[in-house]
Amino acid sequence: MSEYLILRHRAIPGLERLPVYLEHQGFAAFKKAVMELPPAQVIQMVKDSGLRGRGGAGFPTGLKWSFLPNDLWPHYVVANADESEPGTFKDREIMESNPFQFLEGLMIAAYAVQANVAYIYIRGEYWHIARWLDQKIAELEQAGLLGERLFGTDYSLRIYTHLGAGAYICGEETALLESLEGKLGQPRLRPPFPATAGLYNRPTVVNNVETLANVPLIVLNGPAWYHNYGTDKSPGTKVFSLSGCVNRPGNYELPFGVTFRELIFEHGGGVPEGRTLKAVMTAGASSVLIPMDESVLDTPMDYESLNKFGGSLGSASVIVLDDSVNMAWLTQKTVNFFKHESCGKCTPCREGTYWMNRLAERIVRGKAGLREVELLYQVARQMQGKCLCALGEFSTLAVVSSIDRFRADFEAVVTKEPIYG
């Protein structure tokens, strides 16, 4: 990587300290926005930059901000720092090592929608990061960068951190808002979307940590500059969290459009012990399994190109699987995760993930036959298109794609005789 936009701390030692961050044009963008730019212009800049949400859906960020109605107040901004997709660990690094860039992005977002309060919803396991951010927020308040009537303007802003209690579903933005309000973390019906009825039923922007970390650079350098990176439709860089059967797992910040080959082999050092690359999950547990061969390896990784595999980039938690991995085993692990994390609100997800998990367990323990594999497939199909939120839908992706694409792995573990019936 020649140039860091998000993981700048890797190039600039001590960036997590306020003086160092300030030395490197820290808060210049925020100050410029508050003192010189009308909020609508900030939104337009972000729109023009083409910045897309890094949480998984890839929705245009500026467009999201522009949806907030100006006849209903107050507005809120919430940073989604619930980072809980298996295999995703990018927001953690950003918040730990480049916290001010994220906070500045959050502050610019708040200014752009004229929110006076912003929340950072952090997964419970990151309690130490919440404390760390609390310190950083206190430093900003002391430095006069955060608080009442900033830089002599009328604009005031406070930021609060809020710890989740260990539920994956609270990364879903409406469940996150429920949880932030002190309620059980279950997704809300959409519409209405948070942009019109979010936190406390008020217009709310919910953005991922990495998304927000892009914002200061866009405001500082302009939207055109941002298009120097990435692809036409997916400008900028992306922090790929690389894990699984790979020699050098870790976060890699690369421009959108980087190929699988480049990421896995050039940066990740390839699969260990000379084994063969078998499949990749690009969006953590919420992925289809993409079988890997030479032709697939040169696919660019951006929001559009993965569609042809029935997949999506998601949060770009790239889990590499080699030929030592049986996909039935992997399916069971994935389904067990979703069973554990289903909120239980809607019937297909609550019952379906539980059922799929029991079937998958039986299959990998050799206590089931092909009949159960077929049933597992049908249960997943029966869930599809019927769930209240994406969690339930995502829980079926690994199941269906693995049975479709790696049937031999299932045939290898099942008994040859039917178990019952």
Binding site: K339, E341, S342, K345, P348, W355, G385
Partner: protein, 823 residues
């Protein structure tokens, strides 16, 4: 009416109001879309996914804004890639909905299969079996056979008490959340909730006592499976064994419509007994809800303490007698004496009141209403009128609630006033202490009990924000009670409130008026027929030649009245029980309970409603109106006594407000929305459809002469600086004779106690649990103290009907009771 939208459902073209959900629109068109979590009285959540349907919308040309047409000229319809939930999707112009396609059928089959994976399928022993949406929809759409492996079933607790009234079966629960949402959004007692997640998700209660809500029983009606059952009914009967009979709740002036479910019972010697009380839809009265007092408070009708034969005093003792003996004895007693006083309570029916009124006026006697609250005559002239429905109150309207705690006294009115406030009506609550209704109030008027009339008078002056809010309201409904008021003061209050309506120009409007929060179901009926309360009841009784008491227990309520009664020349009592009053009587007639007879009651909103006989009468009992007619017959006064409907016909002929009414009129119904209780129990729950009558509101009496000045009433000033104003307050669960036999409620019943403000308690040097002696002249009681910050200073609150003989507020001396050391 708002804009109408035209759409097509299963080929049927219908027009419905904009904003209506597909599921409701389909229902209107006679198409049932199955639901579990959706309920027409609550906001949709789209959780259960049972209502998935195919939804198509016209394709609009972006440049012209016009629909793109097919070759045949019909609009091109685009169906989405996924099914949509009919319960969350509002209709739109040109929408096409398909509910009968293969895809929809498969979706339904899938959802049912999912729901049944861990369901115990214990229908044969389930209370809901036979009226169960899950059972019905499984029969209609389910797969017939499950692919789920038996040993994977979750096994969960099956008898979880959510408090002592409602039980939860966690295996049967399909987690639709109807109960949780009802408690949060309708009843606003969010005391149950979801806990955990995924397949471990479960309903829990976190109140003390468990499921602490006066509306808890309604959750068992809307529960679409057998997960929630009442402790009263569970394992009691199968739904198809029971015969439904229309009735009216006897406990408060709201007049909730009920259905009594009756079955022959081996344990009751083969007699027909009431197995459960269910709500019956009346959107003008109780919608589809009832409170738990109405649901569980019927057991007094089957109490073994009921009187089973007439009693006649012989040689100073009450002895059993035949009806003929007792009737003749009563007539004899009356014939010999002049100055008969009928003292009747608000549990009598209109027919009972009417006959009693006829006979005492024929004997030049007085018809006294056993009540310490006035204002019924104002309600006759300034009550609601015509088709007025509290559900019509909203923005621009106002509701004033004075001197009553609706949540305790009339829970369904509390609910409906709360809903009016939520729809935007301005709610003003005036009371000496905080009540639960205040959380929805735009204005709260707080007063010392002695200042209530001044405060209300100031509303007439038009200066305060409250007065202005009342003045500018299009419609104004005023609920008034008697908390802290003497009879005279309540008369003055009613006068002032009537004047307020007149002065603001609201008195003529149908959806404006006075509603009296009476302590009994038919107190208003007593007023309509001519009974009036007596400010000096003790004197009236003591000097009466004969007293004819019906549905009242003055001797049990007040020792002074007991003494007065003993001075009366001759006492006839009609009652269900051998009350203190009956013990002092010369003749006692056993009457029938409301479950055993028919009749009508007039609600506080002046709606006359019929109740029907549900069970055969207890042997040897007769209805009050018949007893009165039979006594009258011995006196040579001809009265109708054979059937309640004929008495009502007489009544309708005699009283202008009842003109044109008949039992047939009262039994008329119109279609109500939402449609409930038909073949599809899943839509509204097990509430009964109303097929036996919505009742009729009485015509407003003409206002007549200019409203008189209100009587100059001064609430007696404190006789001494340290005097305490003792105020009886209503608690829904009291220890009245009509509730105590409902043992289920015992733990929640109010006990005799003295509630004091912290400052008052400190002054007296007492703490919670210690005892205080309160006295006024000869009257003295020693009560256990509860310190409660919600009690006004210098006041002591005593729950009514808990054994403390306090009918009206009273200034007392209070001092800490010193316990004698135990020997």
């Amino acid at each position: 009416m708002g804009k109408m939208v035209t759409l097509t459902i299963d080929g049927q073209v219908i027009s419905v109001p904009q904003g209506m959900l597909i599921v409701d629109a389909a229902k209107k068109a006679g198409i049932d879309i199955p639901v579990f979590c959706y309920h027409p009285k609550m906001e949709p959540v789209g959780m259960c996914r049972m209502c998935l349907v195919e939804v198509g919308r016209p394709v609009i040309d972006r440049t012209t804004g016009q629909p793109i047409l097919e070759a045949d000229g019909t609009p091109k319809i685009q169906f989405g890639p996924k099914l949509e939930t009919a319960c969350t999707t509002p209709v739109s112009e040109g929408m096409v909905v398909r509910t009968q396609t293969q895809v929809v059928a498969e979706a339904r089959r899938g959802i049912i299969e999912f729901l049944l994976t861990s369901h115990p399928l214990d229908c044969p022993i389930c209370d809901k079996g036979g009226e169960c949406p899950l059972q019905n929809l499984t029969m209609a759409y389910g797969p017939g056979e499950s692919r789920f492996q038996y040993e994977d079933k979750m096994h969960l607790a099956k008898h979880v008490p959510l408090g002592e009234l409602i039980y939860l079966d966690r295996e049967r629960c399909i987690l639709c959340g109807r109960c949780v949402r009802f408690q949060s959004n309708v009843a606003d007692d969010p005391v149950i909730a979801f806990s955990q997640r995924g397949r471990a998700l479960q309903i829990v209660t976190f109140s003390e006592p468990g499921f602490d809500s006066y509306f808890s029983g309604n959750t068992t009606d809307i529960c679409p499976v057998g997960a929630l059952t009442t402790a009263d009914f569970r394992f009691g009967a199968r739904p198809w064994e029971m015969i439904p009979t229309a009735s009216i709740c006897p406990h408060c002036p709201v007049g909730c419509n009920l259905t009594l479910n009756v079955r022959r019972e081996a344990a009751a010697g083969g007699r027909e007994v009431i197995k459960r009380v269910m709500p019956r839809q009346n959107e003008w009265v109780n919608e589809i809800w009832i409170c738990d007092k109405g649901r569980f408070g019927y057991h007094y009708t089957e109490s073994p303490e009921r009187l089973r034969q007439p009693l006649v005093r012989k040689n100073g003792r009450l002895e059993p007698a035949t009806w003929e003996e007792a009737l003749a004895f009563a007539a004899e007693g009356l014939r010999e004496r002049s100055g008969v006083v009928a003292l009747a309570g608000g549990r009598l029916s209109n027919e009972d009141f009417f006959n009693l009124y006829q006979v005492v006026t024929a004997r030049q006697g007085r018809a006294v209403l056993y009540s310490t609250m006035a204002g019924g005559d104002y309600v006759q002239r300034y009550g609601l009128s015509g088709d007025a429905n509290l559900a019509g109150l909203g923005k621009g309207d106002a509701v004033l609630v004075v001197a009553t705690d609706l949540h305790e006294e009339a829970p369904l009115w509390w609910l409906r006033v709360k809903q009016a406030a939520e729809r935007g009506a301005t709610l003003i609550v005036a009371n000496a202490r905080p009540t639960k209704l205040e959380r929805y109030a735009a204005h709260v008027i707080r007063y010392a009990y002695s200042e209530v009339l001044e405060k209300v008078q100031s509303l007439l002056a038009g200066e305060s924000p409250e007065a202005q809010a009342l003045a500018k309201a299009t419609n104004l409904v005023i609920f008034f009670g008697q908390e802290g008021l003497s009879l005279e003061a309540s008369e003055a209050l009613a006068t002032m409130l009537a004047r307020l309506l007149v002065q603001n120009g609201q008195a003529e409007r149908p959806l404006s008026g006075l509603v009296a929060v009476w302590p009994h179901a038919n107190t208003q009926g007593g007023w309509e027929i001519g009974f009036r309360p007596d400010p000096d009841l003790a004197h009236t009784l003591a000097t009466a030649g004969a007293v004819w008491v019906a549905a009242a227990d003055p001797a049990g309520d007040d020792p002074i009245l007991a003494q007065a009664l003993e001075k009366a020349g001759f006492v006839i009592v009609q009652d269900l029980f051998l009350t203190e009053t009956a013990r002092r009587a010369d003749v006692v007639f056993p009457v029938q309970a409301f479950t055993e007879r028919e009749g009508t009651w007039t609600s506080g909103e002046r709606r006359v409603q019929r109740f029907y006989p549900a069970v055969p009468e207890l042997e040897n009992t007769r209805p009050d109106f018949m007893i009165v007619a039979q006594v009258a017959d011995h006196l040579g006064i001809p009265l109708v006594g054979r059937s309640a409907s004929r008495v009502f016909d007489e009544l309708a002929r005699a009283l202008p407000a009842f003109a044109g009414l008949s039992y047939t009129r009262l039994a008329e119904v119109v279609e109500q929305w939402p449609l409930v209780g038909r073949g599809d129990l899943y839509y509204g729950g097990t509430v009964y459809e109303n097929t036996q009558g919505l009742g009729v509101r009485l015509a407003r009496m003409s206002a007549g002469a200019e409203l008189s000045e209100w009587p100059a009433v001064e609430i007696a000033p404190a006789p001494a600086d340290d005097a305490l104003y003792l105020v009886p307050v209503v608690r829904l669960y009291d220890q009245g004779q009509t509730l105590v036999p409902s043992h289920l409620l015992q733990q929640r019943m109010a006990r005799a106690a003295l509630y004091l403000a912290p400052a008052t308690a400190a002054q007296l040097g007492v703490q919670t649990g210690e005892r205080v002696e309160v006295s006024a002249g000869e009257w003295a009681e020693t009560l256990t103290v509860y310190v409660d910050a919600n009690v006004p200073v210098k006041a002591g609150l005593v729950p009514r009907s808990t054994g403390v003989p306090l009918r009206q507020p009273l200034w007392v001396r209070a001092q800490r009771a010193v316990l004698e050391p135990q020997p």
